[in-house]
């Protein structure tokens, strides 16, 4: 109480510019305790389990599996693949994140059209299968280091575009990604906001998505995470696998380079 009063007194002088720190200790401890208990059993594993089967299953008009899909480490190599994504792929001539790469594989190997995802609904039909495959693939990089190769000029360009997108303010609320993710030690409600402009924050954020979200019992891929960020920014909707989502991914992944992959994560 005493601490509160002192801080409050400060606030009189500083009006709107007073520091936000308040007696938050107990609430923060409680939340930390909650998260530690949740980490014990992550339902993402249910998606991983299903995804491994789908990866190997002969599917689509071409009745092929994804076992010849090259995620950057050679055909069929899943181990460590997502830790090194996004990357520049010569065969498509594009920088691709995991999901846009999987879309290419599904199209060329299996004949599954990209429309299934671009016009798809989260958790439904082919999109649900995508989510399961993503869970499986990112689980195969768990505990590895984020290791994105920035040597290709296409990657450098995507990084620059991603950075510009990160600070781009627009819409009825004037928000940019940076509004919430550009400072240290901030929260929305009780949720900590990683500062994605710095290594520690990017490692924490990029490193722990995709993730299972306990609030709705859904598994969210990085594309879904970015899509919902833009929804809450009150932007129009980013198209699944579009360049802005990949550019932002390159921006985050490069900043996170060297951090630990903790995917699939578990979130509020």
């Amino acid at each position: 109480m005493k601490k509160r009063l002192t801080l409050a007194a400060l606030a009189i002088v500083a009006a709107f510019t007073a520091p936000a720190a308040m007696a938050e200790g107990s609430a923060a401890d409680g939340i930390a305790q909650y998260r530690a208990m949740l980490a014990e059993g992550n339902p993402s594993e249910l998606w991983e389990l299903a995804g491994e089967d789908i990866w190997k299953e002969k599917r689509g008009p071409k009745q092929a599996s994804l076992e010849q899909c090259d995620l950057g480490k050679g055909p069929g190599v899943v181990k460590g693949a997502s830790a090194a994504l996004p990357r520049y792929f010569k065969d498509t001539g594009r920088v691709q994140d995991l999901e846009s790469r999987l879309m290419s594989c599904m199209e060329t190997l299996q004949g599954i059209a990209p429309e299934n995802f671009v016009k798809g609904k989260w958790g439904k039909g082919e999109m649900e299968k995508m989510e399961q495959i993503v869970a499986y693939v990112v689980g195969q990089s768990r505990d590895m280091k984020v290791n994105v190769d920035m040597s290709a000029p296409q990657m450098k360009k995507m990084y620059a575009l991603g950075k510009e997108a990160f600070f781009y303010r627009a819409g009825p609320m004037d928000f940019a990604c940076a509004t919430c993710h550009g400072q240290d030690d901030k929260r929305i409600r009780l949720q900590d906001l990683p500062n994605l402009t710095k290594h520690e924050g990017a490692a924490a954020g990029w490193g722990s998505w995709p993730a299972y979200r306990v609030s709705n019992g859904q598994f969210w891929t990085m594309q879904h995470r970015l899509n919902d960020c833009y929804r809450q920014q009150r932007f129009p909707e980013p198209i699944y696998g579009s360049d802005v989502t990949i550019a932002l991914s390159v921006y985050m992944a490069k900043t996170a380079n060297g951090g630990t992959v903790m995917t699939p994560g578990i979130k509020r």
């Binding site: 305790q33 909650y34 929305i188 409600r189 009780l190 609030s215 809450q232």
Partner: protein, 155 residues
């Protein structure tokens, strides 16, 4: 009495036999409800739930430990663990006072199984959570308040 008979049934056949019977159309799924303690799960008052469990008004005991966070970031998933240090603990139940139906889960522990279970429950709002334990034929309990917060910016 009923309980031990049920244990024997389950031990010999288990759910797999039961599901075979369901699949074969020999048993209607509804029959499963007969074993499930409907009265306890349907109870909308604490004393009714406790009565349906045969627990009466259990004594608070330091030998029963309820592990749960002080604050749940999301009421949809609240991790709860119960440990009983009482000898011959045979049953553990988890109840949430302010949920529409108090009883969340009930565990029957045969000899050889430790009285230490963890699960996750839903909570509609901040409430006392009870761990009710049956040991040596008597009931004991522990309780803890868990705060449920509003989360996300969609709030």
């Amino acid at each position: 009495m009923d309980q031990s008979r049920r244990n024997t049934l389950k031990a010999s056949g288990g759910l797999s036999l039961f599901s075979l019977l369901v699949a074969a159309g020999m048993v209607k799924p509804g029959v499963a409800e007969a074993a499930w303690n409907k009265a306890a799960f349907d109870a909308k008052k604490m004393d009714a739930a406790l009565a349906a469990l045969g627990a009466g008004s259990p004594a608070e005991s330091a030998e029963v430990q309820l592990t749960a966070p002080d604050i749940a970031e999301n009421g949809a998933v609240v991790p709860v663990g119960v440990v009983s240090n009482l000898p011959n603990t045979e049953e553990v139940a988890i109840l949430v006072e302010k949920n529409p139906n108090m009883l969340a889960a009930r565990f029957m522990l045969p000899a050889g199984t430790e009285a230490a279970v963890q699960t996750r429950i839903k909570m509609g709002q901040t409430s006392d959570v009870y761990a009710v334990v049956k040991a040596g034929g008597k009931f004991y309990m522990a309780k803890k308040e868990i705060k449920v917060t509003l989360g996300g910016c969609g709030g």
